[in-house]
């Protein structure tokens, strides 16, 4: 059993029970019972190892109602998220995943995205722009991901970043219909086999095209390509777009020519922040824009509260849109800062928080903007 590899962590949690991982867990905030918290899931893992519980669909419901945001691991000496992932891998092996997860995985395998959108339409968003297909002479491969490629709101973000990169004079291109899923969510959902398949395909494709540097729109893709791909192949130089923008603003390639008078708060995406410790680049970009007053939410950086979309939940939607759903909690927190703009650096966070603003009836008071959109208006 895979979780046996985590026996020491699981048993340590079982003898300690401090529960410090619980209160800020987005899943626990929504569902309320301990079984939906990091500590609760460690108890379940312990009971499975002890033979007190068998793996069932009921366990799968608790284990998959987790965004893999990493808060619990940040609050603990044990890597709770890794245990949850191992439990998911067990559930996948036994065919015990919830139908929503099964559909996500099957669709991603077949179409390269969970929404069954045709592969040939993946590059359509770029048609009306000056963004062109990747060529081996390009410095950067601009990896867009399926949210940026298919979602209408995601399209706008993808275009905005393309415009900014062009403005910065960078040579880059996109893969369009040749782009495949990066696999981060597949990995987080515990389908290691499919993840390896996607990863190997991508690595081969990138190598064939002579890719050396990759800039990603999504922190999810950034996480997979930066931390997982090197274990299986070439070491591409992978950057999240905020890191690249920070660099070209610093070296003067990208000039901010206008200001934006607004009170702005920034939401750290889990896969950029907690997973990759990049807290400064997005903030530095915003602070470089004249007129922006950057205010922090109470929970920020390592303590940031997840939007609820991670680990495939933007598709599986186990959290629903109730008052205690993570995206609504986060939007209320942002609104309480007095900010007019909630800035994000992730297309998944964008769609999750955009939905929440509407449900909360705050559209007139709080706008969700990706940093790439904000920058595209001031260069």
């Amino acid at each position: 059993m895979l979780i046996k590899g985590f026996k020491q962590d699981i048993y340590t949690c079982n003898r300690c029970k401090c529960g410090f991982c619980r209160e800020e867990c987005p899943s626990y905030k929504t569902f309320g019972l301990e079984s939906y918290s990091g500590r609760g899931r460690m108890s379940i893992a312990w009971a499975v190892l002890e033979g007190k519980l068998g793996l069932t669909n009921e366990i799968a419901k608790r284990i998959y109602a987790c965004t893999m945001c990493g808060y619990c691991s940040a609050r603990c000496s044990m890597d709770i998220t890794a245990v949850i992932k191992a439990l998911r891998e067990e559930l996948v092996e036994r065919g015990l995943v919830p139908p929503e997860v099964r559909d996500f995985l099957e669709n991603t395998h077949k179409y390269g995205n969970p929404w069954k959108q045709p592969r040939e339409k993946r590059g359509e968003w770029a048609k009306s722009t000056e963004i062109r297909p990747y060529e081996s002479s390009d410095e950067f491969l601009y990896y867009v991901g399926y949210v940026g490629s298919y979602d209408t709101r995601g399209n706008n973000v993808a275009k905005a970043l393309g415009k900014v990169l062009l403005e910065g004079g960078l040579s880059f291109g996109v893969l369009g219909s040749d782009e495949d899923c990066d696999g981060n969510e597949v990995n987080m959902l515990g389908e290691r086999g499919l993840f390896q398949l996607l990863m190997e395909k991508n690595i081969q494709k990138f190598k064939k095209l002579g890719v050396k540097k990759i800039v990603t729109l999504s922190p999810h893709a950034y996480n997979a390509m930066k931390n997982e791909y090197p274990l299986y192949g070439e070491n591409f130089e992978v950057m999240h777009y905020t890191q690249l923008l920070q660099e070209i603003i610093r070296n003067g390639k990208l000039r901010i020519s206008k200001g934006l008078k607004a009170r702005v708060t920034y939401h750290d995406p889990c896969f950029l922040g907690r997973y990759n410790k990049e807290y400064d680049a997005p903030r530095e970009i915003l602070q470089n824009i004249p007129g922006i007053e950057l205010v922090e939410m109470g929970r920020n950086k390592e303590d940031s509260f997840c939007c609820g979309g991670g680990g495939g939940n933007f598709y599986t939607d186990f959290f629903g849109s109730g008052e205690d759903s993570p995206n609504r909690i986060r939007v209320r927190e942002a609104y309480d800062t007095g900010a007019e703009i909630l800035a994000v650096a992730c297309p998944t966070c964008m769609i999750m928080l955009d939905d929440a603003v509407k449900v909360e009836g705050l559209e007139e008071k709080l706008t969700i903007r990706d940093i790439s959109e904000i920058v595209s208006e001031v260069v």
Binding site: T12, N14, R15, G19, E23, S43, I44, S77
Partner: protein
């Protein structure tokens, strides 16, 4: 939530009624949902669990009253569950029944800045309460290390320890102005008021302090709060003996100085912080050869006043043979770990981590002059029972100046039943000695189902215990409220 297996306590009809009371999404008797409520931090074999039959998560006092009324009618045990961090098993369903997860009652009702009180539901964590108070430049100086997970209700029900007792009291008696309680019959009663002091009735709100969920469920409370201090300074002073550390602390208080916290720890506990200092700063702190105890002391308030007190205290420490720790990073590490938790200790390979052993211990309180002999007894018993100290012994000065809340700790291999039994004997013997010294078997963690429960008739007279039992029976005639705890059945 799915129903799961129904048991004697929870027939289809009872389960359906519970769903109606709290909503179907807030009740479960599925084993997957019950397992996380089957253990806490208390000493037990690694495989021991106490499974409840059902867990409910109400959001209002009315819902709790209805659940309790049903339980009382059907004679089902009811166990209130807060943060689940207990060290005495107080929230475990040792006789099965209904766990009431109190954390759904997390609403703050009023922060009264003018009168310095907060009225709140009791399922909120201590940390969240203080985060809300901070927005008003206020705080509740009750500061248990479990604050990130433990609830206000549990703080009252266990009367647990915090750091700032030297100045603010440290017992819930010093904070609690009023409470709302669901009695075991399902009746809802309010005790106390917002008045800072009252002698008009029996102070029954205090009866529920340390009641460990055996007399009723505390659903709402009004607490005394304070303005946040503008400035704080902390020092650590090392001493060659516990006795000299305690005497220095007493002299500080007698001098008219007003420390907000005094925390004395044995060398073993201090090593925890010096190791972290090594890991984080790559520097080594060399304690004096003869060191037995270290004292952390803080002064807070206006900067000039706090710093003045600090300078005055340093002379007293020097006269008492103490040596002030000059390494400020080490002092900062101690304070951060103790009060805000950086988690770094756990993330590094750690000599005191729970990856190999279970941390356990006993929270005793003896007259202050008896601490040195109790400490010697602890050392002797470590040898006798062959245990290594976890964080050794440490104490907070609690309850208006210098009532020591003494924790004696050991590391136990909880996967070895023989060692767990040996640990229980160790705790039992040390607790018995505490009573012999004129002390008590628990000063902050409660009795719960701890091995010390059998010492209740040693600490308390027969008539006193009988009166406690009569009181319990009067309030809880069917013995449904957290049965088997504190006073054994």
């Amino acid at each position: 939530m799915a129903a799961g297996k129904l048991t004697n306590w929870t027939s289809e009809k009872i389960f359906a009624t519970l769903k109606k009371i709290v909503g179907p999404e807030n009740v479960s008797c599925n084993k997957v949902d019950l397992i996380p409520y089957s253990r806490d931090w208390s000493l037990a074999n690694a495989s021991t669990i106490y499974m409840p039959d059902v867990v409910v998560r109400p959001k209002t006092t009315t819902e709790i009253a209805e659940v309790v009324r049903l339980a009382n009618k059907e004679r089902i045990p009811v166990v209130p569950w807060g943060g689940g961090t207990g060290l005495s098993g107080g929230a475990l369903a040792v006789k099965g029944g209904i766990i009431i997860d109190m954390k759904g009652l997390d609403r703050i009702i009023e922060i009264d800045e003018e009168n310095l009180t907060i009225t709140t539901q009791t399922g909120i964590t201590v940390q969240k309460l203080n985060e809300a108070l901070k927005k008003h430049q206020l705080w509740w100086p009750h500061d248990p290390e479990s604050k990130f997970a433990s609830t206000v209700g549990a703080a009252i029900a266990c009367d647990n320890a915090g750091t700032f007792g030297t100045k603010y009291g440290g017992s819930l008696v010093d904070y609690l102005l009023g409470i709302e309680v669901v009695l075991p019959t399902g009746d809802v009663v309010k005790f106390g008021s917002q008045a800072p002091h009252s002698v008009s009735g029996y102070p029954l709100h205090w009866l529920f302090i340390g009641s460990e969920g055996t007399l009723g469920i505390i659903t709402q409370t009004t607490l005394r709060v304070y303005r946040l201090p503008q400035y704080r300074c902390v020092d650590i002073i090392v001493f060659d003996s516990f006795k000299s550390a305690i005497n220095a602390g007493l002299r500080i208080i007698e001098s008219g100085l007003d420390p907000e916290s005094i925390h004395i720890m044995a060398k073993e506990g201090f090593i925890y912080y010096t190791k972290l200092y090594e890991v984080m700063f790559n520097k080594v702190f060399k304690p004096p050869e003869k060191m037995e105890a270290a004292m952390a002391i803080s002064f807070a308030g206006l900067k000039d006043v706090a710093e003045f007190q600090r300078s005055m205290s340093s002379k007293i420490f020097s006269d008492a043979g103490g040596m002030v720790v000059e390494e400020r990073e080490l002092v900062d590490i101690f304070w951060t770990e103790k009060h805000t938790l950086s988690y770094d200790a756990g993330k590094n390979p750690w000599p005191l981590s729970q990856t190999q052993h279970k941390y356990t211990g006993i929270d005793l309180c003896v007259p202050i002059g008896k601490i040195p002999v109790l400490y010697k007894k602890y050392k002797r018993l470590l040898k006798k029972y062959n245990f290594k100290p976890a964080t050794g012994c440490f104490m907070y000065s609690k309850r208006l100046k210098f009532a020591p809340n003494c924790i004696f700790t050991i590391n136990v291999n909880d996967e070895d039943p023989e060692e767990v039994e040996r640990a229980k004997k160790f705790i039992h013997e040390l607790a018995k000695y505490s009573i012999k010294c004129g002390g008590t078997i628990s000063s902050s963690r409660g009795v719960g189902i701890a091995v010390t429960q059998s010492l209740m008739p040693v600490e308390h007279t027969h008539l006193a215990l009988e009166l406690m039992k009569k009181l319990k029976h009067m309030l809880d005639p069917n013995n449904i409220m957290n049965p088997g705890k504190k006073l054994a059945d």
